[in-house]
Symmetry: none
Subunit: 252 residues, 2 copies
DNA sequence: GTTGACTCTCACGTTGCGTGATACCTTATC
DNA sequence: GATAAGGTATCACGCAACGTGAGAGTCAAC
């Protein structure tokens, strides 16, 4: 059986243009060209095309597909395994992005509806709901059990590291608000917040006058700290550092 | 404060070309142009850029970002939620592709009996359910066995934080051993361990070349960190920092 | 006043095709 | 054998988000 472009296209579910393109880049040449310059394909090319489409579906670039098909099983396995790695890191990446989106949604909601509870406990609420639904659908847990589990998780979330981080976030958020209001680092409202920051730092270690000021400088000078604080405001680090310096001078 | 292209680029971690491009498509115009046709940016643009980069990180197309930033919180939430949907379906899609790859690899190997360890090694809890379903479908494990396995996994998860800390400790210990053996920071053995350190750090955040190098410096310069690392070796921090710098240069 | 670092504006390259534009060929019908 | 419908061919631009020079002007420092 001989196929023209359109026939082969229909048979394999690609466009005519795609066949033209694959010919152009030398990925899939027709069996022969007619006197009219038409492309004619045979069974062999159909089989080849199916292989190409298989690897394409996996997201492997065409240039790699060209290599892969010509190579032996051993090389194929190696390529597939390395591609698998890429896909796995994509999974991780995407999972993190979804978390970030959930955070942002929660925060935006907090701004619009002032739901403190949701901001505090339900940071991952979107994601959580999906899970719960899945688990209950599968019959792994009853609705009652789920309720109990929810309480537990809530209890756990209030403890330890998470809670502390959330406290820190709250202080920073308040400071960022103060920045928006154009308050100065030495004004009473800001200094009150810095006192909270100082109390929060004491969770980890007790700074003296010098080291507390130094910590502020650290926030400014080291990129990863600076970048972390940029989520609140591009110059949050500088603002906080100045406020900390003043606090240290007056109180420590 | 006024920024030229390069200054703003460095500050925000994008390329000069990107700023040119954003100007060209009208996403981010400079505050004004000089007589020399230079672009000059102010605080306002910096703030704007931070927002742009945040949404870009989520994989939202620039054209949508333009809309999103101008819109109110309600619309932002809607856009984020719909983008979340896309990311979730990407997750499903990718999960399926990985399964297909695994199948193909197995077939190429001509090996129908896969090893349990191979299947379980390095699995993230997020993907666990997908694999469980797969394993049970294939008849490699019974539902009861799976239940038992689930308990174990749950056990790991409960002291997940401690486990992560232990992993970090193990890496540091191995690096300290390498130091004792007088291995250089740039030798393959040490670099392999640094890769592990990098992977470990990714539990918390994903550093790029600059920030990973910066983290190494931080280890040296900040007393708290330095003291912490002295438990392994008096100059552990310096050794690690140098090894991290090399790793970042070569790999990031 | 001479570097060296920085800036500008083109303009092409990347990936995998989609979408015409324009012209030639084949097949069926009248 | 004319005509219309439908298939085929070769350009060639377009997209998304910039990277990467090329060539030329500008700024700050020694």
């Amino acid at each position: 059986m001989t196929y023209t472009v359109k026939k082969l296209a229909k048979l394999s579910g690609v466009s005519v243009r795609t066949l033209h393109f694959y010919d152009e880049i030398g990925l899939l040449k027709p069996a022969y060209y007619g006197d009219n310059h038409y492309r004619y394909y045979e069974e062999e090319q159909l089989l080849m095309l199916q292989q190409i489409l298989f690897y394409r579906k996996l997201g492997i670039p065409l240039s790699d597909i060209q290599r892969i098909i010509a190579s032996d099983d051993f090389d194929k396995i190696k390529t597939l395994e390395s591609h698998r790695q890429i896909l796995e890191s994509n999974l991780d990446q995407t999972t993190k992005l979804i978390k970030t989106i959930d955070n942002t949604i929660a925060r935006l909601r907090g701004n619009t509806t002032m739901k403190d509870e949701e901001l505090f406990y339900g940071l991952e609420s979107e994601r959580q709901k999906g899970y719960e639904k899945y688990i209950i659908e599968k019959g792994w847990m009853s609705e009652a059990e789920m309720q109990k589990s929810r309480e537990q998780v809530k209890g756990w979330k209030q403890d330890g590291f998470r809670k502390i981080m959330k406290e820190g976030d709250a202080v920073n958020q308040a400071l960022a608000d103060a920045m928006q209001k154009k308050l100065k680092p030495d004004c009473p409202e800001v200094q009150k917040l810095v006192r909270m920051h100082y109390e929060w730092i004491k969770n980890f270690w007790i700074p003296n006058r010098e080291s507390y000021t130094g910590l502020g400088n650290l926030y400014c000078e080291h990129p990863e700290f600076h970048r972390f604080f940029e989520q609140y405001h591009p110059h949050f680090a500088e603002f906080l550092a100045e406020a900390m310096r003043i606090f240290a001078e007056r109180e420590l």
